[in-house]
């Protein structure tokens, strides 16, 4: 688990006008690991994700991917590197079926510009099967007929369809029931076991401690601590989220006190 990080961000700063949202943040994603990104509302989690995929340009700092410095200006650049984001609101079209959703925007074409439905259907099915998704009856089902957990599964499967190396999941279990949450968390774990670098953004400490290897805590735009999940308790993580420090982990008292929005 001590391989060199796939994605490494160092000294990231980002301001919106006078508001300094990210403050010298160092954040890294390792292959085969689930890194949880936690923090209170407004701590900068979403902003950090949007900086990774190029929706927001960073003010200063360096992003390295596979050891090489990269610049990401648009979501498309991130996708080309193999960085995919699964957004909270799923970004699926209800009226399209599973195959159509998984290939949306990147449809395979035959010669002459016709859609290659057979190949897309086969790939969609084998991707779902490789993620051990066995709950859908047909990949030609319309997404509106799927349960919340199945939808989330499709959204995640969509993100690994393109040989992605890093998958960022924004609150994947926020709207799910107990059983469905289990399904999705198992899937998240399988992604990491297959060698991808997974970032899990979540407010749910149970989920975080259950599946993640590493926990990065943001506190008012600063990285309070990056710890191994097995070394901390739930109470410590909560303390890190709410006050930026817990015992001798986290920001120094003076630094924590000086941190204002």
């Amino acid at each position: 688990m001590s391989e060199s990080p796939l994605l490494e961000m160092t000294g990231i700063n980002k301001s919106f006008g006078p508001v300094h949202v990210l403050h010298d943040v160092d954040f890294s994603v390792h292959p085969g690991e689930v890194t949880a990104l936690v923090g209170d509302n407004g701590a900068g989690k979403t902003t950090l994700v949007k900086c990774v995929v190029g929706i927001y340009p960073i003010d200063s700092g360096e992003i390295r991917f596979d050891g090489k410095p990269v610049t990401v200006h648009r979501p498309r650049d991130a996708a080309a590197l193999g960085i995919e984001v699964v957004y909270q609101d799923l970004a699926l079209c209800d009226n399209l079926d599973i195959v159509q959703n998984m290939f949306l925007g990147r449809e395979l074409q035959q010669r002459g510009g016709l859609l290659d439905e057979s190949e897309m259907e086969r790939r969609a099915r084998s991707t779902l099967a490789s993620l051990s998704v066995r709950t859908v009856k047909s990949v030609r089902q319309v997404v509106s007929s799927l349960s919340g957990g199945q939808r989330q599964t499709v959204a995640i499967a969509k993100s690994v369809l393109w040989n992605s190396k890093v998958v960022l999941l924004d609150e994947p279990t926020a709207a799910l029931g107990v059983a469905q949450t289990e399904q999705v968390l198992a899937l998240v774990r399988r992604l990491a076991d297959a060698g991808l670098g997974v970032v899990l953004i979540s407010h749910n400490m149970n989920d975080v401690l259950k599946v993640s290897d590493r926990i990065a805590t943001l506190y008012l735009g600063r990285l309070a601590a990056e710890v191994m999940a097995k070394d901390v308790t739930q109470a410590q993580v909560v303390e890190l989220i709410t006050s930026g420090r817990s015992g001798d982990i986290g920001l120094k008292p003076a630094e924590a006190a000086a941190t204002t929005i």
């Binding site: 084998s126 349960s147 190396k165």
Partner: protein, 492 residues
């Protein structure tokens, strides 16, 4: 209208990259997984799935076809003239105009937008065609120099708007039309004049689409303004109360009033019905062989057989002589019928087999998701408005052909509203994301059948026409709304 996105990252995966090699190796599919996808769907399973979809709100064309059948039955009992050959031919001609405009509207409705100006735009396009021909190809003389220059500038602006969204087909059509118009190249030819009308339609739609997609004005307001605007333009072109005669132009007159020779009627029947059966059967067999989800062969054959029988009856009836005068036989299907079917096949192909069509549905389903998938939303929107007005032009031409003239209020009145009603009755959702080109044909026939059937019942007052049309439309809209609610509730 295919969208070309070679720059996207998915294109690299098209080069034969296996899908999920980064996740695991070859997946081992157990027999039970994706049970419906292994090509061996039984008819029973398929019917059960279909019924579940209907109960879940995916009603498709079912209510419209039922409505068509019910109306047909009622009218054929109420009047023995309804099923007469003469009246059937009439019905086809009456439906044509609504069907063409509705077919274009389907694209706009699929996005969840509306085009209220399609009716009056159809009048303007037809007027361009008519004026060009009546003045021996000299549109400048017909309009007067200032108006003509404004028209050319409008075409240029439309071409720029379409070019801005990289819609080269649209740009090409507008530019060729504009150049022919400006330099009077072949404009005495009726086919060229028809092309000029279509080019005007594409231009009108490009401008509408630009205002909606790029400027961001709600389509309701833009097209409401244009609905009024095109009425004014048409008056300016033709003059108050005047009309452009078109019945002397044989090709244009033939579109609605001419008939396909009976033998050619059968040839077209074999091409369309045979082609449909061959296509659906080979698709099912191929997909079953590849172990992909496929419709059961029995169903495909039954559907093909029903279509073959209905089509054969229609062709046989329309091929009978319906002239009261034995010296001048009138026989064969009106040209609008094959034109309608050909356009339906073409737009169905565009909607289902190329990227552009996929994106039209995607924008209607979830515009934000589509944007995140890297699709240029304004390009898709602009293209749909261009298609809508282009089909409106076809409708305007059919209308001119049927009336034998283009009055100064062509395309006004109920033209647009009937077309919207046709699309909705056919099963296209006003909320976007759901609909097919065939909806326009089915709905168009329902809409045409009501006045046609009621006209044969002299005991009914004229008021009944509007009231019954209104009730049918309300019924269709409620089916749409209820099925949406069921669909939302069925998201188990």
């Amino acid at each position: 209208m295919t969208t070309d996105q070679n720059s996207d990252p998915g294109a690299s995966a098209t080069a034969g990259l296996p899908t999920s090699s980064s996740v695991t190796g070859e997946p081992d599919l157990a027999e039970a997984d994706f049970a419906r996808d292994t090509g061996a769907t039984s008819l029973g399973d398929y019917v059960r799935d279909w019924w579940a979809r209907v109960r879940g709100g995916e009603v498709g064309a079912l209510p419209a076809i039922l409505g068509l059948a019910v109306l047909g039955l009622i009218f054929s009992f109420a009047s023995d003239r309804f099923l007469s050959v003469n009246n059937l031919a009439n019905l086809v001609q009456q439906a044509g105009i609504t069907v063409f405009i509705a077919m274009g509207l389907v694209f706009v409705l699929l996005l969840g937008e509306i085009d209220l100006s399609a009716g009056t735009a159809s009048g303007v396009c037809a007027a361009v065609m008519g004026l060009t021909l009546v003045n021996n190809g000299d549109l400048e003389k017909a309009l007067g120099r200032p108006t003509f220059i404004v028209l050319l500038l409008f075409l240029a602006a439309a071409a720029v708007a379409a070019g801005f969204s990289r819609l080269w087909y649209a740009v090409g059509i507008i530019v060729i039309g504009g150049v022919m118009m400006a330099f009077k190249i072949g404009t005495t030819n009726q086919i060229v004049a028809i092309f000029l009308a279509v080019a005007c339609g594409v231009a009108i739609g490009s401008v509408t689409g630009f205002l909606v997609a790029r400027i961001g004005i709600p389509s309701f307001v833009v097209t409401l303004a244009l609905f009024l605007g095109w009425q004014g333009v048409l008056l300016q072109f033709i003059g108050n109360g005047a009309a452009i005669p078109t019945s002397q132009f044989n090709i244009i007159n033939a579109i609605s009033n001419g008939n396909v020779p009976p033998l050619w009627g059968w040839v077209l029947y074999i091409v369309f019905v045979g082609g449909y059966i061959a296509f659906t059967v080979t698709r099912t067999l191929r997909r079953q062989a590849q172990r992909l989800s496929a419709e059961p062969l029995t169903l495909v054959l039954v559907r093909g057989a029903v279509l073959a029988v209905v089509g054969a009856i229609a062709v046989a009836l329309l091929n009978q002589n319906r002239s009261p005068n034995p010296n001048f036989p009138i026989e064969g299907m009106p040209y609008v019928l094959p034109l309608m079917i050909a356009l339906m096949v073409f737009w169905t192909f565009v909607l289902s087999r190329v990227r552009f069509g996929r994106y039209v549905y995607a924008v209607g389903g979830n515009a934000e998701a589509t944007r995140r998938a890297g699709v240029d939303l304004s390009r898709i929107r602009l293209a749909c408005f261009a298609i809508c007005s282009c089909m409106a032009a076809v409708g305007g031409i059919a209308q001119a052909s049927r009336l034998g003239s283009i009055p100064s209020d062509a395309g006004g009145g109920n033209t647009l509203l009937y077309a919207v009603a046709a699309a909705v009755i056919g099963g296209t959702s006003l909320f976007g994301g759901r609909g097919h080109a065939r909806d326009a044909v089915i709905g168009g026939f329902v809409i045409a059948m009501i006045p046609n059937g009621l006209g044969l019942l002299p005991s009914l007052p004229a008021s009944a026409n509007f009231i019954i049309t209104a009730l049918v439309l309300l019924l269709a809209a409620s089916v749409d709304a209820l099925s949406r609610r069921r669909a939302a509730a069925a998201g188990r």
